[in-house]
Symmetry: C2
Subunit: 730 residues, 2 copies
C-alpha cells in the first residue's frame, strides 16, 4: 500500500547546518550497552534503524576523554583512534542507507565515577554527585575550563574523522554544560558563575570552539534540559532555559536543538514510563523552545502514532520527531508509515526495560516488544526478515501468552504451519491481568501487536477459549512438533526466594488469602484491610497494592527488600511509584519478611525485620561477630485479606507428562516437543518473548530447546577473530 | 637477609594429585574484573603473584557454559576456544615462575541472571534467587542433570587444554553443587534429593566425571562451604558438611579441599571484613575438615602474618595457606618471607574495597593498600619495581595522609630526593581518626606500612609536627617540585550532594554542631542525644554513630539513601553493620534529609522524607503525574548534638595560592607543583593512594597532574592491536 499523503510532511528533508537529513525521523542518543567496545553490535543495531527509515541516528552518550568515565555503566567513547575505527563502522552502516550519524559528546563531571580510568573529574563547583553520591569533582579553574573545552574540540575532530555528520555538545541529564548553566551545580563567583550570561559562558564557548573546529562539515547539535524541575534552584523554562536558547540562537552556534526536561537523578521525567506519563508529555517545554529557536528543534516522548507525529510538526511543536524507545521497539517504524503498513508498527509499551539494563550497568539492552534488539549482530537477527523454514512442518503451540504468541508469530513468518491454542477466551496469558494494573494499559500492546500479526499470517491458526489441553489432547492433535508455553502462576502457598520455603498459614485456597490473578481474573473478594507480601520486587506487588487502594482498601506491603519494587529503580518508575505509595497511604514494611500468617476472623501477619535486603539467617556465628538475631523485632499486622506476591511457579506439569510419555510420540508422529517462557522458568516479560522468538528462529538446529552460541565481541589474544558484519553466530 | 628457618614449613612442596605445588602459598579463586575478556590484565595480574612466590594461583569463578552467565557482574568464562587462548596466557605467565594454575569451574543456577546470554539456568528446585531476587531457574530433570555434568566435563577438557593444573568443581558461595547438597535449595524427592546421599549425588557424580576426564593430568579440587550458617535448614558442619567430606574422601575424588563458610547472599561471612572479623576467623570449620579429609586442605581468612601461617600448618588446621585479599594487597608476600623481609609485607586492611567492585559489577578490582593492583598490564606497573628517576630532582610533598605518603614512598623508591612534611605530630591524615572508629583499627595499616617504608628509604626525609605550611613556606623551601596533598575535611556548614547547598542552621563553629574530626581528633564535647546527618553513605556516618553509641549516647542517623552506609553493601559489611545499628539501638531515618537544624537549648532537626534515594524535588510537574511533594512528612528530632557527615570539601586554598603566585616560581627555582588525592577531589582512600602512586610513577611525563593513557583491552575492528604482554600504556 502506498503512503497516505497526510504523512508526507514526515518525509520531507530538512537542513541541519551543512547537512541534509532525508526525513523527519530521528533516533536521539540512547544507550544500548555496546559502546565503543562492541563495534559489531553497535554498527548493526544503529544501521538497522537506518535501513528501517530513520533519517538521523545517534550514538549513546559518548565520553570525550578518559577523565569522564562512567564505568560501571557503559557509554560509548571517542578517546582514541581505536574508537574512531570502531564507531566509524557505525557511521558506515548508517550512511549505507542515506541517513545521518550523530555523536553525543559527553563529559559527566561529578556523575562520572571513573571506576575504570580512576581519574577525578572537573566541574564548576565541588559538590558530590546526587546520583553517584560518593563521587566528587575538582572545582575547575580557568586553566581547567580551557582543558575541558579542548577535550570537546579534540573529540569533535576525532568524531568528524570517524564519519559523524551531527556532533552534539551534550548538556541534558545534568551533564557538564548544564552543570555550568544551572545554579544547582554552579556556585562560582568568577566569570563562569553568577549571572545567566556567566553561567552560559562555558556552554557557549564550547559550542563556538566545536563549531569552529568541525562546523564546516558537521551539524552542531546540543541536547538541553530546558527545565530541570528543581524550581528556582535549578533551570526553569521561561526563565534561564529559554534565555539560554535565545543567547545561543543570537550567536548562531547550533544547527539542531534536542530538547528535553529533567535531570540525571530522576531522568524518568524525560524517559517517562507509561505507568506515569502519556506519549508526548514534554510538549509544553519543547514548543516553547521551538517558538524562539531559529535552528530545527526536536523532542522525544515515546511517540508511536504517525498522526501524533504529524500533529507535532503541524502544530509548531517541533521540526523533527525524536525517538529513542519508539525506535527500539520498531526500527522500521518510518518505513512502515511510508509503506502504508500502520498496523504493523510494533509500538513501545513504555515499560523502560531497555533503560533498566543501562541503569544496572553492563548488560546489553533488551526490549520487551522487539526481541531482536541487540541481536542484529551477535545472533544475526533482522527484525523484519525471517529465514524460510527448511522443512515447513506443522507445529502446535500450546498457550497464547507472550512467549507462545511470539513463537507462533515467528514460526508463522518462517512458513511453518502453526496452530496456537489458548485455554482462555483471549490471548495474552499473564498480560490479561498485568495490563489491568493501574497505569499499565499500554503494556497491553504486547498482546495487541501480536494478535494483529497473527491475524494477518495465513500460516497461523489461533484458537482461543479451548480450555486446558491435556497431554492426551496434545499427543492426538496431529502436529509434527509441539511447543508448550503455558506460563507460570503466583505461588499459592507463599513460596519465596527469601526463605526458600512456603509461608506458614499461606494457602490461596482459603477465602482470605489471594494471589493477584485470583483477584483480577477471577474476581476473588478482598476485605477492607489488606497486606500484600511482596517477595518479587518488581511491579506486581506495588501494582496490586495500588489496584486495591484505588478501591478504598487500606493496604500495607511487606517486602524483604529495602525499597518497594526495587527493580523499578532501574526502569525509572521508582520515584513516582514511591510518591504514589505515599499519596495513597499504602504502608511500607521494607526490610521485613513474614514469619507466619495466622488465620482467623482477623488475620494476623507477623513480620520480622532483616539485617539486609532479603537476607535471612538463623544460625549464631561462632566467631564473635554480632548475633544474627541482633536487634530483630516482630511487627504484627492485622488485616482481612493477604495477597501473596511471594514468588512464581512454572506450570510445568503438562510438559513433564508429555515428556514422560515420549515412547508414544513416534506413534503419533510427533518429532519433538519444547517448553518455553515462564513454563520453563519464570522470567521478565521481555525474556519470555525473547525465548519464544529464539526457539522459532533456531527451530531447525540440533536441539532448539537450548540457545545456539552467539558472537562474543572481545579480543582474542593474538587473533583477529572478527567475522564480517552481519555474520550469524550460529 | 635469609629466610628464618621457622618459616621453612611454608616453603615445603606438596603433592596435589598428579601435580606438585612448590610451596604452601596459594591464591584461592577471587575476582578482579578481567575475566576472559581482558586477557592481558588477567595474565599479568595472576602472573605477578607467581613471580611474588605464590605456588598456586587460580582464576576467579569461571563460567562453564553461556547458560550460567553472571552479567552484569564479571566472571571468567571457559565457553569456547577463544577463552582457551585467553586464559592460556594466564597459565603461561604462572608457569613461567614454576607455579600451578587453577580454574574454578562455576555454574550459578538461580544466582546467574544471564543478562548477556539471556539463557535460563537449571537447578535442583525452582526457587528464585535470594541474591538476585528476580531470577528463577528451571527445575532440572535427569536429562538436565546429565547435561549439567557434561558441561563441567567439557569445560574441564577446555581448561586442561588451556594449561590449567588444578581444576575446581565450585560448590561454595551457594553455587550449583552446593544447591544440590543443601536442603535450603534442594526440595527434590527423586534420587538427587532427600537423604544426604541423594543430595550429595550430583556433586559426587560431577567430581567423578571430571576426574575421569582430566584427573590423569590435573589435580581435582573442590571449594566447599562447610557451613552455610542457615542452621538446620542449610548445611552445617558436624552434620551434612563433614559427612559430605567423608563421602567424597571415601571415593577418593578430590586432590584438594578449598574450605570456607557462608553463602552467596551474605558472603562477608567468608570474606570477613576486618570491621567484624579477625584474621583466620574460619579456623574452627577448616580444622574440622582437615581432621577427616585425606587430601590436602586449605582455608582462607585474611591471614598476613607468617607466624600465624606457621601455626595454621603446625596446629593441623590446614596444609596450605589460602589467600585472596592478602595476596592482592601484597603479591610478593611469599618472597618477602623467603627473603626475611617481613617488615616489607604490605598487609591487607580488610576493608573489602576489592570485593566492592565485583559487587558493583564491571569495574576492575582496586586495592586500598596496593595501588598497582590491576595496573600490571594496562599501565605496566610492577608492585616492587620502580623506574629510576630520569632526573632525580628534589621534591617537597606537603601532607602525610594516604596520598602524600604513597607519593613520597614511590618517589623515594624511584630515587628522587623527597621531603615529606606533615602538619600534625603523626603521619596518616584522615587515617588518624578513621582507624579509631570501632572495628577499623586494622585500617591503620595504611599508615603503618608506609611509615615503615618511608623510614627505610634513604631518599626520603619525613618531618612531622611542622604545622601547616603556607605558600610562602613552600616557595622558599628550596625544592625543585612541589606536591600538595593536604586532604579534605567534612563540611562544617552541612554542604551536601543531596541538596547541593548548605544545611540551614549547620555551623560546626557552634558548640552543639560537630564534624567527625572535631569529635575524634579535637575531643569536641558531644551531648547525650545525637543526630548524625549522613549524606556520605559509606562508613563514616555509621562509624561515628557507633563510636558515640559506645559512649552511651542515644544516637539517630538521618540519610537520604534507602539504607545506612549503602556502599557497605558492596564491601560485605552491611549485614553485620545493620545488625550492629539495631543492637546498639541507633535509630535510622533512611530516605530522609534535613530541612533545617534549629539551634537552642534542645536542638531540633527537621527531616523530610524523599521519594527515592537522595532525590529532592520542589517543582510540581506540568504533566499530570503525582505532585512531587506527594506523601511528604516532617520528622522532628530533638537532640543535644548534631554531627555533620554531609559531604567533604577539599583543602584547596594552599594549592590555589601557590598557583596564583606562579610568577614567583622561577625565582625560587620551582619547576612544577601538583595537587593530589583528596585536596584535588575527595575520594575513596584507595583512590587517594592510587593518585599519589600514579603521580610518582608518571612524574616525568609532560603533565603528570593528569593520568597518561592506559591500554584498553578491546577489539578494534579489523585490527589486531594487542601489544605484547607487559607493554606500558604510556
Amino acid at each position: 500500500m502506498p503512503r497516505d499523503p497526510k504523512y508526507d510532511c514526515l518525509f520531507e528533508p530538512i537542513q541541519l547546518g551543512p547537512k541534509t537529513m532525508r526525513n523527519r525521523f530521528y533516533q536521539v542518543p540512547h544507550c544500548n550497552g555496546a559502546g565503543s567496545e562492541k563495534p559489531g553490535a553497535q554498527a548493526a543495531f544503529r544501521g538497522m534503524k537506518a535501513e528501517g527509515g530513520w533519517g538521523g541516528i545517534c550514538t549513546e552518550y559518548c565520553s570525550i576523554h578518559p577523565e569522564s568515565d562512567d564505568t560501571h555503566r557503559v557509554s560509548a567513547r571517542i578517546w582514541d583512534e581505536g574508537d574512531v575505527i570502531n564507531l566509524g563502522h557505525m557511521c558506515d552502516e548508517i550512511h549505507k542507507w542515506g541517513s545521518l550519524a550523530g555523536i553525543e559528546m559527553w563529559y559527566g563531571g561529578p556523575h562520572a565515577p571513573g571506576m575504570e580510568s580512576r581519574a577525578a573529574t572537573r566541574a564548576p563547583s565541588q559538590i558530590a554527585s546526587e546520583f553517584e553520591y560518593l563521587t566528587y569533582p575538582h572545582e575547575a579553574d580557568e586553566d581547567d575550563i580551557r582543558d575541558l573545552i579542548q577535550m570537546y574540540v579534540d573529540a569533535a575532530l576525532r568524531a568528524e574523522r570517524a564519519g559523524f555528520d551531527i556532533i552534539y555538545v551534550y548538556g541534558a541529564h545534568s551533564y557538564l554544560p548544564l552543570q555550568f548553566l544551572s545554579k544547582f551545580y554552579n556556585k562560582r563567583t568568577d566569570k563562569y558563575g553568577g549571572s545567566l550570561e556567566n553561567r552560559a559562558r562555558f556552554w557557549i564557548e564550547t559550542l563556538a570552539a566545536v563549531k569552529q573546529a568541525v562546523g564546516q562539515n558537521c551539524a552542531i547539535a546540543t541536547r538541553l534540559a530546558i527545565d530541570t524541575l528543581y524550581g528556582a534552584d535549578g533551570l526553569e523554562v521561561g526563565d534561564d532555559g529559554l534565555k539560554f536558547v535565545e543567547l545561543v540562537t543570537k550567536e548562531g552556534l547550533v544547527d539542531l536543538w534536542d530538547v528535553n526536561i529533567g535531570d540525571i537523578a530522576e531522568w524518568g521525567e524525560d524517559a517517562g514510563p507509561s505507568r506515569f506519563y502519556k506519549a508526548n508529555h514534554q510538549k509544553p517545554w519543547v514548543k516553547d523552545v521551538k517558538s524562539i529557536a531559529k535552528a530545527p528543534v526536536l523532542g522525544v516522548g515515546r511517540v508511536t502514532s504517525p498522526d501524533d507525529m504529524v500533529q507535532i510538526l503541524a502544530s509548531g511543536q517541533a521540526d523533527i520527531i525524536g525517538a529513542a524507545r519508539s525506535s527500539i521497539a520498531d526500527p522500521f517504524l518510518p518505513n512502515k508509515i511510508d509503506e502504508g503498513r500502520l498496523e504493523d508498527i510494533r509500538e513501545c509499551i513504555g515499560c523502560n526495560m531497555c533503560i533498566s539494563r543501562w541503569e544496572i550497568g553492563g548488560p546489553p539492552m533488551i526490549c520487551t516488544q522487539n526481541a531482536t534488539s541487540m541481536e542484529e549482530y551477535r545472533r544475526g537477527w533482522h527484525p523484519e526478515k525471517f529465514a524460510p523454514a527448511k522443512d515447513p512442518c506443522s507445529v502446535l503451540v500450546v498457550g497464547g501468552g507472550p512467549s507462545g504468541m511470539e513463537c507462533a508469530r515467528v514460526l508463522g513468518e518462517r512458513g511453518f504451519d502453526v496452530h496456537l491454542r489458548e485455554a482462555a477466551d483471549e490471548l495474552g496469558g499473564c498480560m490479561r491481568y498485568v495490563q489491568r494494573f493501574p497505569g499499565l494499559a499500554e503494556w497491553g500492546r504486547v498482546t495487541s501487536y501480536r494478535q494483529t500479526q497473527l491475524d494477518k499470517l495465513k500460516t497461523v491458526e489461533v484458537h482461543t477459549g479451548v480450555g486446558s489441553m491435556s497431554a492426551d489432547d496434545i499427543l492426538s492433535y496431529g502436529a509434527d512438533r509441539v511447543v508448550v508455553a503455558v506460563g507460570s502462576h503466583w505461588s499459592t502457598d507463599g513460596l519465596s526466594g527469601v526463605t526458600h520455603s512456603t509461608t506458614p498459614g499461606a494457602d490461596a485456597a482459603q477465602p482470605q488469602i489471594c494471589t493477584p490473578e485470583q483477584i483480577i481474573l477471577e474476581g476473588k473478594e478482598v476485605g477492607d484491610r489488606v497486606v500484600v507480601i511482596d517477595g518479587d520486587g518488581y511491579f506486581t506487588g506495588a501494582s496490586i497494592a495500588e489496584y486495591l487502594a484505588d478501591q478504598g482498601k487500606q493496604v500495607s506491603i511487606v517486602t524483604q527488600l529495602s525499597t518497594v519494587g526495587t527493580y523499578t529503580h532501574f526502569t525509572l518508575e521508582a520515584p513516582n511509584l514511591h510518591r504514589m505509595l505515599h499519596a495513597k497511604k499504602i504502608a511500607e514494611y521494607c526490610g521485613h519478611w513474614v514469619e507466619a500468617i495466622e488465620p482467623g476472623n482477623e488475620i494476623k501477619v507477623r513480620a520480622y525485620n532483616l539485617s539486609r535486603d532479603g537476607y535471612l539467617r538463623t544460625t549464631e556465628p561462632r566467631t564473635g561477630a554480632l548475633p544474627r538475631t541482633a536487634g530483630t523485632h516482630i511487627e504484627e499486622l492485622t488485616c482481612d485479606t493477604v495477597v501473596l506476591v511471594t514468588g512464581r511457579v512454572s506450570n510445568h506439569e503438562l510438559f513433564r507428562e508429555l515428556k514422560s510419555r515420549k515412547a508414544e510420540w513416534a506413534k503419533e508422529e510427533i518429532d519433538a516437543a519444547f517448553h518455553i517462557g515462564d513454563c520453563y522458568a519464570p522470567r521478565m516479560i521481555a525474556d519470555a518473548i525473547f525465548d519464544g522468538h529464539r526457539l522459532a528462529r533456531e527451530f531447525e538446529c540440533d536441539n532448539p530447546q537450548f540457545p545456539l552460541p552467539f558472537i562474543r565481541e572481545r579480543q582474542v589474544w593474538g587473533h583477529d577473530t572478527y567475522p564480517a558484519l552481519g555474520a550469524n553466530g550460529g
